[in-house]
Every structure is written in C-alpha cells, then in structure tokens.
C-alpha cells in the first residue's frame, strides 16, 4: 500500500509538471472554450426545451452536432493515450524499472500507481474544463443550472473519466507489450483512429449504409459507447432506440436516463477493466532480463 502511494504520488507530480501535460491542458482548455463559445451562439435561437437551458449549452449547436461534446469524444482518448503510452517501456529503456523493482514493493504497486495517477490527472483536467465551461456558460446565458442539471453534469464528468481511463489503460497496455516508445505511441494512435472512425460511423449513421448488423458492431467501439452515454445523460429528452438515439418531446427523469445509459456504461467499464487486466497480468509475469 505504501509502495502504491509512493509510486502514485511521484507519477502524479510527474504528470503535473511535465510539458506534455501543460501542452495538453492548454489545448484542451483552448478548444473547449472555443467550442462552448460557438455552441452558445445558437442557444438563444435554439432553446427548444426551457426546462434544461443550462444543459443545452453543451448539447445544442444549431442544426449541427454539439461541438463541445464532439471535442470531448475525440480528444479525451488522446489525453488518455498520451498519459499512458510510455508508462512502462520508457522506464525499461532508461533502466529505472529494474532499480524500481528491486525496492521492497509489490510489483503491482508500480502499474496500479501509474494507472491511478493517470486517472486522477484526467479527472482533474476534465473537472476543471467542465467547471470553466460552466462558469463561462453562466456568464453568457445567465441561467444557473438546476440541481438535476448539476447531477447530470456530474454523471457526465464521471463517464468522461471512465472513458479516459479506458484510453489510458490502452496506452499502458501498449507500453508493456512494445519495448519501443515510438511503437507503442503509434499503435495507440492507430487504434484511436480506428475506433474514432468506427465511432464516426455510429454518430453519423446516415452518412454510411451500415445495416443493422454493421451498426451493432460499430457500437461496441468505445467512442460510440461514450457518445451514446453522453447524449443520454446530457439530453434528458433522448432515449436509446435500437442502437440509435431518439429525441422525444417528453424528458426522462434522471434515474430513467441513467437506466438507459447503464448497458453502455457497463460495456465501457468492462472494456476498461479488460484492458487494464491484460496489462496487469502481462506486467506481473514479465521477467526482468539482463540485456
């Protein structure tokens, strides 16, 4: 436990002081703010449902899809992957891994500590982004969020962190399997593009003719899963229908929305856990070899 906390604290400090984090943070903030600003331009003309004005800040963008959510869907993976792709192999290359593992700590403390530090970093990043954007929204539209809206935003934040954790786990997985940092980075990016592409097909099903089977396959993509979850949480009038989203005139209570989200959310959590479990087993069985 003490080993885990030590690794966790060091990794967290590393993340927050690294250039890669500062750059990521700057990009996320800049794009997030721009996206929400663009979205907010439409909110005055487009408020369809006066019950959830504040949430529409995130989900409305005229006739187009909400820019802010799209940005989160496509950008959080990059954040996760960038925080994780060199977690283990860079330590192996620099020779710190054998020194680290010769200390009296359980081996899983290393991987758990790194994973946890990454998750906390993503959580901090996303929370500050959402809070910042909410603050801007308050100023722009002058309507405070209701308690239900606040809860929905909280649920959205938690889902975002789980989504980020999946990509972080994927990055760490590649960092264990590939001994070169460049390989693991490219593999992570390739997978992100692949899932992103599939997710794109599921977000815009009318652009491509998938058929029922195709749509089902496409929806296992974490990108598509997250998109569904986000929309169901942030758009109270949306409900899940045969893999697609249906906007109904009446809003669902929060509990019902969460119930609709549940299968997608569980799939997302399962993907994350599987990803982390594979890295965990691989790392625990890995031998330290003389080179």
């Amino acid at each position: 436990m003490q080993g885990l906390m030590t690794v966790f604290r060091k990794e967290l400090a590393d993340h927050f002081t690294s250039w890669r984090f500062i750059i990521l943070f700057a990009i996320v903030f800049a794009v997030g703010v721009v996206a929400i600003y663009v979205d907010a331009q439409y909110i005055r003309q487009e408020v369809m449902d006066t019950r959830f004005v504040f949430l529409q800040l995130y989900t409305t963008s005229g006739q187009a899809l909400p820019l802010f959510i799209l940005f989160i869907v496509f950008f959080v993976p990059i954040v996760g992957v960038i925080l994780g792709f060199d977690a283990i192999n860079s330590e192996r290359i620099s020779g710190t891994l054998s020194r680290l593992l010769s200390q009296p700590i359980y081996r899983d403390a290393v991987i758990n500590g790194k994973f946890l530090a990454g998750v906390v970093t993503i959580a901090v990043m996303m929370m500050s982004l959402i809070l910042l954007v909410s603050g801007m929204g308050l100023r722009m539209i002058g309507v405070p969020p209701s308690s239900e809206e606040a809860l929905r935003l909280m649920a959205f934040l938690i889902t975002t962190v789980i989504y980020g954790a999946f990509w972080l786990g994927l990055g760490i997985l590649f960092s264990i399997f590939f001994h070169r940092v460049a390989t693991s980075a490219l593999a992570s990016i390739a997978l992100w593009m692949f899932f992103g592409f599939i997710g794109f097909m599921s977000i815009f099903p009318s652009f491509v003719q998938l058929g029922q089977v195709g749509l089902k396959i496409v929806q296992v993509s974490p990108v598509a899963l997250f998109w569904q979850v986000t929309m169901l949480i942030l758009v109270p009038t949306a409900r899940s229908l045969g893999g697609g989203l249906l906007i109904t005139p009446s809003a669902l209570p929060l509990g019902q929305s969460l119930l609709g989200v549940w299968p997608h959310l569980v799939s997302l959590i399962v993907l994350t856990v599987v990803c982390f479990a594979i890295s965990y087993i691989k790392f625990m069985r890995e031998e330290i070899r003389s080179t």
């Binding site: 003490q2 080993g3 030590t6 690794v7 060091k10 590393d14 330590e91 620099s94 020779g95 710190t96 891994l97 054998s98 020194r99 680290l100 593992l101 010769s102 200390q103 009296p104 700590i105 359980y106 031998e287 330290i288 070899r289 003389s290 080179t291």
Partner: protein
Amino acid sequence: MSELSTQLVVETVDLTKTYDGNKVVDGLNLRVEEGDVFGFLGPNGAGKTTTILMLLGLTEPASGAAYICGYNSTREPLKVKRISGYVPERIGFYEDLTASYNLAYTARLNGLSEELVRRRVGESLDIVGLSEVADQRVETFSRGMKQRLAIADLLIKTPRVAFLDEPTSGIDPEGVNQMLDLIAGIAREQRMTVILSSHQLNHVQRICNRVGILVKGRMVVEGLLDQLGREALGGSQFSIEVQLSEITSGIIERINQVEGVVGVERSGDLLVINCVEDLRPQIARAVVDSGGSLVEMKVQSYALEDIYMRYFKEG
C-alpha cells in the same frame, strides 16, 4: 571463532536458469559469507547478471533456489529486497528529476519516514561526494557521477548485502579506482557484504577478498584471492628472472636451498626461479655466496590475470 561467527549471506543451491532451452546459469552453488567482498568474474554472457537477478527475486529460476540471509528469493522477494541493494549495469535515473529527488523516491519506496528520508539522502550524497549537485537534474551528470549516484541510491536503504553489476564499466581508469575505493570503504564502514560482478580481473583484484569465476553458467573456480593464485601456479606466485655472467650447477643448487624457492629453471643464459614470495635479496646473496656475478634481476608477480585467462581458455 571466525567459523562460528560467520553467517551465509548469499547462498544458491543448484541454481539453474534456462532461456529458450539454453542453460544460462547451470547448477550454480554460490556461498558468500557476511562481510565478504566477493568478486563475481566472468566473460560477458556468462550468467552473472542473471544470477544476481535471481538472487534478488526479479527473475525466477528454472530449478534450484537462491537465498539471501536465509530468505528464499523466489518466495519471499519483499524480505530479500528490503535487505539487499542492487546497482544494475545500465544505471537508470529519472533524468528530468534532481539527484536528491531520485534518492528520496527510493527512500520512500523503502517506507522511510519523511524525516529519515531527508537525513539519509543528505548522508548518502555526502558519502559519494555529490552533495553540491544534489539539486541538479540527473541529465546534467556525467557517467561517473551517475555511477556514484547509484552507490548513494544503494546506501539509502542501508542494505546488508549489495549487488553491484559491472560498477566500473564505461568510466575512465582514475574514476574506476575512485569508484572501487569508494565501494571498498563503504563495505568496510557499513559492514556490508558486497557482490561485485565484473569481467575485468584487475578491478576485482583491487578490492575483493574472494572471487568466483563463472564461465557459461558454471562456477569454474571459487575461493580466497591469494589462495587461488597459489593453486593455479602450483604453489608459487612470484617468478624471478636472474641473469648471470656465468651459470654453474653450483649456483643453481645453492639457490634451490633458499627457503621459499619452489623451482629453478634454466633458459639460455637466464635462470627462472619460481617462489612463493619476493626473495630477491636472498637469491642475490645466494648467487654472490656461491661465487657467481649478478648481471640483472627481474621479479614478476603473477597477477591473477594469467589464471583468469587460463580459465577463460578452458571455458
């Protein structure tokens, strides 16, 4: 007395490791007693590092067992890691962090209290002479400095036994001597058992009291350093070349009578005398006593190098 008070710090029992069907370490039985500075010699790829990794519980043996102070390295790795320090051959530090932060991390991983962390970091850096660069990033360090930092990293956890894997590789000759003296000093002052692996015999010879030579995963010879020398050369360690103006059998006979002379050989106008110690004064007197006239006398101490090379060829 010494028999009773010594304890085995490192012990391996038929330790074997196979990589892809090749026996890298083959039935190794190694015993290192408390307070020893053990030189683990062998050519590259002899299995030295693999043995150390197995002793530390970082790699599992194919068969056999390794013990550190009685703890089984495979089954109780945490206990083993608590009392043993390791300096890998490829020393790695977090380059973008300061020297003291790197050491503090090790200290915290060993569960030291924050107060103790600060104190040990200061002390260790002091011992290796890096106090002045404590707050510099490791990336600015030279290789020699990193090597010394690795020694400081070892001292942080005050281990009972230290494994140093090729601690002298890649530094200049002067640095090598400084490093070796540092290690020897620490071993003496902290009463630490040291296992030092190297393929350079003269490095090992400088500070080790016992050596083992590992070739292709097997220990070909092991023992006290001075004992080994005697055995390998048939009891003699010194060879003295004497050039005389004239060689007579009387002179040879007279030299043979000098105490400590093992054998006298004649080669051309030279006499080669093998003896257990430097007997030049006695031999000179013997020559003069028996009426010979001395032209030149050269002593050659057999460095273990010759023995080492011999084992290399055998292996």
